[in-house]
């Protein structure tokens, strides 16, 4: 259903026609001046810095894992423009319902690298984001989070508020029934949800053309009566425009929007994955040239506003991030209570018994030594 009162980008980029919204090209040249978001140079530089911070933290996380200092990690390399453009458009009163590959969005919402590291060091405290009442924990279970976002959207309408929900899923996740159900619910309830499909073209090893016969993923919005748009996910400005427009639409009470952010997962699915098994180096190299940071930097160079000492900045970030990692590593030992204490609001006697029996075993073990 294409309504006449839709914002222009949704009319001009009807996903059935398989067009992709782009504002700058690979070389950083503006291809659509009319759609260039009105951002001052300072804001653009700030966006770049956030993307660089995310990338640095992400690369360091992979390296900590490789050093055996951290457990399985899910890299974000190449998807930073999506994450930061979203982060810049999420208001404090908006909700964030993440998947597990939105590092930059989480950071921009107030999650610290230390928390992220603590989570991947195997401690739930790190992944609870306890100080952020409107950020849900990451969803490892594919696609389930989309329903949760819709439920929050219903609450927002029920409470007659004008905030929105931002939620994410991967290209693989669009095959789960939950994806279609959530879009359907969002349509029926006019839930103010901005759905993002991060189409990084691989669900672990499975390429998107094995995942679906749809011409693109944004088109899946059509059957559910939602506006949808395919956006160049490596183009910061296109992503910014898409999020700004989608958020305004959702906040105005008109309902949900589906954004397909077309990108490429330059890293592995997780640190346990080896992409050389299922894709070739040429493809990876090609997408390296289309990198979102590279493109934004070229844009700034062309425009003559690039003024960053990137190497120095990276060094600064590295030492900040490493300090956070060391703090996470030094976090106090995981107490037995953390296994039991959060399962119920009031711990049932059965759990108290199990905990007490385990403590008896621990003291037996202690005495035996």
């Amino acid at each position: 259903m294409i309504q006449n009162d839709l914002p222009a980008i949704f009319r001009d980029y009807n996903p059935i026609e398989n067009k992709m919204l782009q504002v700058i090209d690979n070389e950083g040249h503006v291809v659509d001046q009319d759609r260039m978001p009105a951002l001052d140079d300072e804001t653009i530089i700030e966006a770049y810095k956030q993307m660089l911070f995310e990338r640095t933290a992400d690369e360091m996380a992979v390296s900590y894992q490789r050093q055996g200092r951290m457990y399985t990690y899910t890299p974000n390399l190449g998807q930073e423009a999506i994450h930061i453009a979203a982060g810049m458009n999420i208001r404090d009163d908006d909700w964030l319902v993440p998947s597990f590959r939105e590092l930059g969005t989480l950071l921009s919402k107030g999650v610290s690298p230390k928390e992220m590291f603590l989570f991947y060091l195997g401690n739930e405290q790190g992944g609870s984001f306890k100080h952020l009442p409107r950020v849900l924990p990451m969803s490892i279970s594919i696609g389930t989070q989309l329903h949760h976002a819709v439920g929050i959207g219903y609450s927002i309408r029920y409470q007659k508020k004008d905030n929105a929900v931002f939620t994410f899923v991967g290209d693989g996740g669009t095959s789960e029934g939950d994806f279609s159900e959530a879009l359907n619910f969002a349509g029926v309830w006019k839930a103010p949800v901005v759905f993002t499909i991060q189409n990084n073209q691989y669900a672990i090893s499975v390429p998107v053309n094995v995942q679906t016969s749809s011409v693109n993923l944004a088109v899946k919005s059509v059957a559910f009566g939602l506006p949808g748009i395919k956006v160049d996910g490596n183009d910061f400005f296109a992503m910014y425009l898409a999020y700004k427009t989608a958020a305004e639409y959702a906040r105005s009470g008109k309902g949900a929007v589906l954004i397909e952010a077309f990108t490429y997962r330059r890293g592995a699915h997780t640190t346990s994955d080896d992409p050389s098994k299922y894709r070739n180096k040429e493809e990876e190299t090609l997408w390296g040239l289309n990198d979102p940071l590279l493109r934004l930097k070229r844009y700034m160079e062309v425009k003559g506003v690039w003024n960053l000492d990137e190497e120095k900045l990276r060094e600064t970030y590295k030492s900040q991030i490493d300090a956070q990692f060391v703090e996470a590593e030094k976090a106090k030992a995981y107490p037995l209570g953390d296994v039991f204490d959060y399962m119920y609001t009031d711990m049932p006697d059965e759990l108290k018994r199990q905990k007490a029996e385990y403590e008896q075993f621990l003291s037996w073990k202690e005495n035996r030594r």
Partner: protein
């Protein structure tokens, strides 16, 4: 004979069945080109073709639901679900379709479907990658549930599962996928789907376990031997149906029993086994039967998993407590 890991043994079983029976198809997420995230199906697509070993879209409900359709129309699908924590989207299809179709059709349709997935903890994983949901499946009438504890059994049981006309949930203890190597016959062989195995005979106490816990129990038994306790260890192998005879004979002999399993204790296979013990050997018991199992909590992430996982020391502690009761 070849030295095999469990991964290799399962791969071998799939290879044998794919080779000899063109009704067998193998599919799931990442099983084709990649050969599975644990490489269990490695090389099978290349050898048997992409119409027999293939990647499916990422949708467990679709994977299992389609298997029902294949089974009623002449194929024998062996599907892989990537982790135990991702089986739940398929639960509806398993409970409402796969497990009931033989009965619903009054035997017109057989249900030769194998649903394989890795399960269990001890690998420092993210959430939904460390659970042991065998009781959830064992509770569904119409399913067989099988768990091997070593490469030899994995091969023989999987071949039997593929040849069975009943749906079989085949749970693979990922922690010992590559940890145990064993001489396994290269030939085709199968093992009964409903028989436990006495791993080691003993006289003082019976320990019943399965999957990755067998190895932990064997470590505990060494400690028990040093303490002068003779332990009989039973590897259940078939979770449903339970081999009552083997349990009965053992507990009537020893008079004491503990069940060791990773899953949450309440409403578990451990609970079921103790019910069987009470029904079959009540008057022979010299100590209360006991479950040595996971807490009724979510499996903690890596830092907290040390509390949850059943250590050999804890098994020995419970053996000793039972024997000195």
């Amino acid at each position: 004979m070849s030295v095999m890991t469990m991964v290799k043994a399962i791969n071998d079983a799939l290879d044998i069945k794919l080779s000899e029976d063109n009704r067998v198809v193998v599919y799931g997420e990442d099983v084709g080109v990649e050969g599975g995230v644990f490489r269990v199906t490695e090389g099978l697509q290349r050898k048997h073709g992409a119409d027999r070993v293939f990647d499916s879209p990422l949708a467990e409900s679709g994977i299992v639901g389609a298997a029902l359709g294949m089974a009623v129309s002449g194929l024998r699908p062996v599907v892989e679900l990537q982790f135990e924590g991702f089986t739940f989207p398929a639960f509806n299809q398993i409970v409402t379709g796969i497990s009931r179709m033989q009965n619903r059709s009054r035997g017109k349709f057989k249900m030769p479907v194998v649903i394989r997935f890795p399960y269990g903890g001890g690998v420092n994983a993210l959430e939904h990658h460390s659970d042991s949901p065998e009781a959830l499946f064992a509770h569904i009438p119409g399913l067989r549930v099988v768990i091997p504890s070593m490469p030899h059994d994995a091969k023989g049981l999987l071949i039997a599962a593929i040849e069975s006309n009943d749906p079989v949930v085949f749970m693979e203890p990922k922690r010992i996928y590559r940890a145990i190597k064993q001489e396994v016959s290269d030939e085709k062989f199968s093992l009964p789907l409903d028989k436990a195995r006495v791993v080691q005979e003993g006289t003082d106490i019976t320990v019943v376990a399965f999957g990755a816990m067998i190895r932990e129990c064997q470590k505990a038994i060494k400690m028990a031997q040093e303490a002068g306790i003779s332990v009989e260890l039973i590897d259940l192998r078939s979770i449903y149906p339970i081999d009552r005879e083997t349990i009965r004979n053992s507990v009537r002999k020893t008079g004491r029993v503990i069940v060791v399993a990773e899953a949450n204790e309440s409403f578990s296979v451990g609970s079921e086994l103790i019910a069987v013990v009470n029904e079959e050997a009540f008057l022979y018991l010299e100590a209360p039967p006991r479950r040595v199992m996971g807490f009724d909590t979510v499996v903690p992430l890596a830092q907290g998993e040390k509390y949850f996982i059943i250590s050999p020391e804890r098994i020995f502690y419970e053996i000793e407590k039972s024997v000195t009761f």
